[in-house]
């Protein structure tokens, strides 16, 4: 792994940073404004902040955090539904740790647990099958969130339930796909954008090819890793393309991302799942923007297995939807750092440490 560790060398980071700033200056001279880039993935947002790059670039490149955080885009009504399911006396809810503190209309899954519901944090979706086997008298329901990196693991859990004849297991699917939301973003044209830093781990599954559609919109994208030098390299490439007025999609994370992605994982998704018009928190419904279980697997589909009254979620002043579309910065939300803090988040962008609002709160609010 020395090759990868090298992406973290202080000396290399510093010279990379200098190169990026240099490129950004050229851009600015050419266009009379700062370049505007969107990192689609929340882990990129976090890495920018943690590494100090965001801070170092603040007068050189405008970085906008995009909609690539599963926590931030999960609709309130899904949390409300999970809480309803959690409140059933014989249910066990399994969730990734990330979702525990996401506020629904009235409470989060953490609150539900505090109030006595059996809510368990798992690391791997497969673990929920084990929990179902160990609790044959209970209904185990997995909150199935995630983008394309995680979705194959949800399909795999269904396969596992099938193979092991586990009948007390189901998934509440509320997954998200990257391409539809990017299309919506660029389509809306509200946004001035000079390129996308594309999500490295989603690309592992989808492949470089998947993002070539950006060129049709005359936009560039660079698939990037998460180490400081990779981030800087990605930005540098986007700035160069932009300055050269080229629209291209570059794979700058070749050691894990292939042209066609992971075909085994894609096959697994295709086998169990089909397209669905998914609700995105703060953005609304986007057609074919999520995957749900095919009807032949509806015995594993919590939405079909249980009757959940899905009410209209309570309205708040949270502007997460705009934040993750890059339309406003968190500081423009009137609740930011007032009613809404990482400790008592109003919107999901404040929950995950990689949520844009949380990142701003943690790293940008001061010094």
């Amino acid at each position: 792994m020395q090759q990868i560790d090298a992406y973290n060398e202080p000396q290399l980071i510093r010279s990379s940073l200098a190169a990026v700033i240099n490129e950004a200056e050229l851009f600015k001279q050419q266009r009379g404004r700062l370049p505007v880039l969107m990192e689609v993935c929340g882990s990129h947002t976090m890495a920018f902040a943690r590494s100090g790059i965001k801070q170092a670039l603040k007068n050189h490149v405008t970085l906008i955090a995009g909609p690539g955080c599963p926590v931030c885009v999960t609709d309130q009504s899904s949390i409300d539904a999970m809480i309803q399911l959690a409140e059933m006396p014989n249910s066990i809810i399994c969730t990734f740790g990330d979702m525990m503190r996401v506020p629904g209309s009235k409470q989060s899954l953490m609150d539900a647990k505090t109030n006595g519901c059996d809510v368990r944090v798992i690391y791997s979706p497969i673990d929920s099958i084990k929990i179902a086997q160990e609790n044959p008298d209970k209904e185990v329901i997995l909150l199935g969130i995630g983008f394309e990196t995680t979705i194959p693991l949800l399909a795999l859990a269904v396969r596992e339930a099938e193979r092991k004849s586990v009948d007390n297991f189901s998934i509440w699917m509320t997954t998200k796909l990257v391409k539809p939301v990017l299309e919506k973003l660029v389509d809306s044209q509200k946004l001035l954008l000079d390129g996308f830093l594309l999500p490295g781990h989603v690309s592992v599954i989808l492949g470089e090819k998947h993002f070539r559609f950006l060129k049709e919109f005359h936009l560039s994208g660079v698939i990037s890793g998460f180490e400081p030098v990779q981030l800087l390299s990605g930005i540098h490439r986007l700035l160069t393309l932009s300055r050269e007025q080229k629209a291209d999609v570059i794979n700058d994370y070749t050691y894990v991302v292939k042209e066609n992605g992971n075909t085994a994982a894609k096959a697994m998704m295709n086998h169990y799942l089909e397209y669905h018009d998914e609700d995105w928190r703060g953005i609304g419904k986007i057609s074919n923007s999520g995957l749900v279980l095919k009807s032949s697997y509806s015995k594993y589909d919590a939405k079909k297995k249980f009757e959940v009254v899905q009410n209209q979620p309570r309205k708040t002043k949270c502007r997460c939807g705009e934040v993750i579309q890059g339309l406003i910065t968190p500081e423009e939300c009137s609740l930011f750092d007032k009613a809404c803090t990482p400790n008592r988040p109003i919107g999901p962008c404040m929950v995950s440490t990689e949520g844009t609002c949380a990142a701003h709160y943690q790293y940008m609010r001061e010094g």
Binding site: G52, A56, V71, G97, D98, M110, D127, T353
Partner: protein, 334 residues
């Protein structure tokens, strides 16, 4: 809606802080004392330090120790970091009906052994038994009483003072997590669980300019330093690269999406000291079996700062603020 106690209230971070402020300090009106490692007060003209902690760790036996050893070291350390020489400890046991007597014996013997090593006497005890299902095997409360040393800290913190940690961080947190056998993590990491009274006593006796000490337990190094900064009104800048972290601990954190700065330690002390004495501090620590990997990890960047803060310096020279633990440490996939 009824407000209820959540697990996060017990993680040593933001919610614990709030609970202490809003419930305990307001009712007991005992100001700061209640949230420190030990309370120091005069009794019959002498200065005495007192600390109390309940131990509820699961599993009760873990690599590097058990709940009994921890109950002694934790309380010894809370006294030691307040410059008190631990003298006596009381032990209160809450046992669940059905708890194996052999386990109790093992635990009690660990306590006796650790107390002997720390030269502290166990002077009073209590045992309660609750119905099956009303407790998780065994809980132990220890309360420690110490006499304030002749050598104490001189908390006149100056800009440029050094922050030193006595060794690798996060070992206890990862050892417990992998002993719990829940998330599939397999490590050889041992809890660092140890009594630091002798290490600390050596420092106090041999070096001047020790300003402050704290044992970064629940909430981890980050939370302890944030609290020191707030309580003593100074700001610190850490060099994260310098913080000693075991390779396996970093590996485990990478897998599960944890930040080692928030993981619990049970045998580490973090010290603020005069920078002119830092080499001596490091030397003394490194000569002690519990300080072999001591490192200077940061410095005081401002004092008399009514709003003291903790920062971390990144590799490219910018800084970012570090807050106390928020919520709970949970594995993340994103």
């Amino acid at each position: 809606m009824v407000q209820r106690i959540s697990l996060a209230h017990g993680e040593g971070g933001e919610l614990t802080h709030q609970l202490i402020q809003e419930v305990f300090m307001s009712a007991f009106s005992s100001k700061k004392e209640i949230q420190h490692d030990s309370a120091v007060f005069p009794i019959e003209g002498k200065r005495i330090a007192v600390t109390t902690d309940s131990y509820v760790v699961q599993p009760i036996f873990f690599p590097g120790g058990n709940i009994g050893k921890l109950a002694i070291t934790g309380t010894v350390n809370d006294l030691a970091v307040c410059c008190a020489v631990p003298k006596m400890i009381t032990a209160g046991f809450i046992l669940e009906e059905g708890f194996a007597l052999s386990d109790l014996n093992k635990i009690v013997h660990s306590m006796a052994e650790e107390a002997k090593a720390a030269n502290v006497k166990i002077v009073a005890g209590d045992t309660k038994v609750v119905e099956k299902g009303s407790a998780d095997g065994i809980f132990i409360n220890t309360t420690g009483i110490g006499a304030i040393s002749e050598q104490v800290c001189s908390p006149a913190i100056k800009k440029g003072d050094c922050v030193v940690v006595s060794g690798t961080i996060g070992d206890h947190g990862i050892a417990i997590l992998s002993a719990r056998n829940q998330l599939g993590l397999l490590t050889d990491v041992q809890s660092d669980c140890a009594s630091l009274h002798s290490l600390i006593q050596s420092l106090l006796e041999q070096v001047d300019g020790i300003r402050l000490m704290r044992d970064p337990t629940r909430g981890g190094l980050a939370t302890s330093l944030v609290e020191l900064c707030e309580d003593f009104q100074f700001s610190v800048e850490l060099e994260e690269d310098l913080i000693p972290i075991r390779r396996e601990v970093t590996g485990a954190c990478n897998i599960l999406g944890f930040d080692p700065l928030y993981l619990a330690n049970e045998g580490k002390v973090v010290i603020v000291c005069d920078s002119t004495n830092k080499d001596k501090v490091i030397e003394i620590m490194q000569n002690h079996k519990y300080g072999e990997e001591a490192k200077v990890i940061g410095k005081v960047i401002s004092v008399n700062d009514s709003n003291g803060k903790l920062y971390s310096r990144t590799q490219i020279g910018t800084t970012r603020r570090i807050h106390r633990l928020n919520g709970m440490i949970l594995p993340r996939i994103c």
